[in-house]
Subunit: 159 residues, 2 copies
DNA sequence: TGTGAAATCGATCCTTA
DNA sequence: TAAGGATCGATTTCACA
């Protein structure tokens, strides 16, 4: 999947723009990076094919969706062998409530983003973590109240 | 901004689809929700106008961007008055390295997502947090190593 | 890799229901 | 609110540099 492809200046400008304005037309994008539409489209398709662009998404306001609760959960495993990690990761892969998982260094092993309809659902899901045989030692929960700064993409330097 | 507008079944289907496929053409979207293109476009524009759709973004692979380090930082403030929170939030608003901030309930006050080029940069930025007059009591840092589950949007029920 | 032209397809607006 | 049709603009392919 061309994991070693080197992004040039124009690629980076394309990525920066599409990260901020995902529905920009190819023509507008082309003129902003000073390419013909066909050359620009070829680059975008290439970036998609090699996996630098992983998808396009509408960003929705979670507080307008009757989504329930958004929780950030820190997980510490009992053991840290590859097998134990794989078992845990397979378990969360199968939980639709877990919408994002990050494996991190430090005193904590995983940071999860979890969406549940209400506290009761969280109480039930919580038991799967601590009671179950997922090899979890301890979890800490934080409930989202407000988003003072919203993620709109990674910083990409122009040059 | 029509914060009380009630989403109907078709709105929710539109949101679910655009959240997963942000660059879908209006025609394709229209046929998937069984509307004419013009009616579908009017709904999408409406959802954008009232702020349920906040933007469109290409999702990029952070490990392919030479971005440096992605850090998750937990922040505990010394005090919890509205003024102290506002001061802290204004400070992180002005830091481009802080790409996302969540105000959460529990023993921690804020969860930050921070992107820095390298450890040295983080060491410098860290001092702004603990040394500065931001009213920060304590921070805990986790560095992203791997993403076993990637966020692709909130769960939206069909009916 | 890039350009420009040609053909197809999509977005958008307006009218009518 | 929705549909249909007209118009204008965008996407995509291809021959060529």
């Amino acid at each position: 999947m061309a994991a070693d492809y080197r992004l040039d200046r124009i690629d980076r400008r394309i990525l920066k723009i599409l990260q901020a304005e995902g529905r920009l037309t190819n023509q507008a994008l082309a003129s902003r990076v000073a390419l013909s539409p066909s050359a620009c489209l070829a680059r975008v398709r290439h970036l998609e094919r090699i996996g630098v662009i992983q998808g396009y998404h509408a960003r929705l306001d979670p507080f307008r969706l009757d989504i329930g609760l958004v929780l950030f959960v820190e997980v510490i495993l009992e053991g840290h062998s590859p097998e134990e990690q794989a078992r845990f990761e397979a378990a969360i892969e199968a939980m639709p409530e877990v919408v994002e998982a990050s494996h991190v260094s430090g005193d904590v092993d995983y940071l999860l983003k979890i969406v549940v309809a209400n506290m009761m659902e969280w109480t039930r899901l919580r038991e799967k973590f601590i009671g179950g045989d997922l090899g979890v030692d301890r979890i800490t929960t934080h409930a989202l109240m407000r988003k003072p700064k919203i993620f709109k993409g990674y910083p990409i330097s122009d040059p």
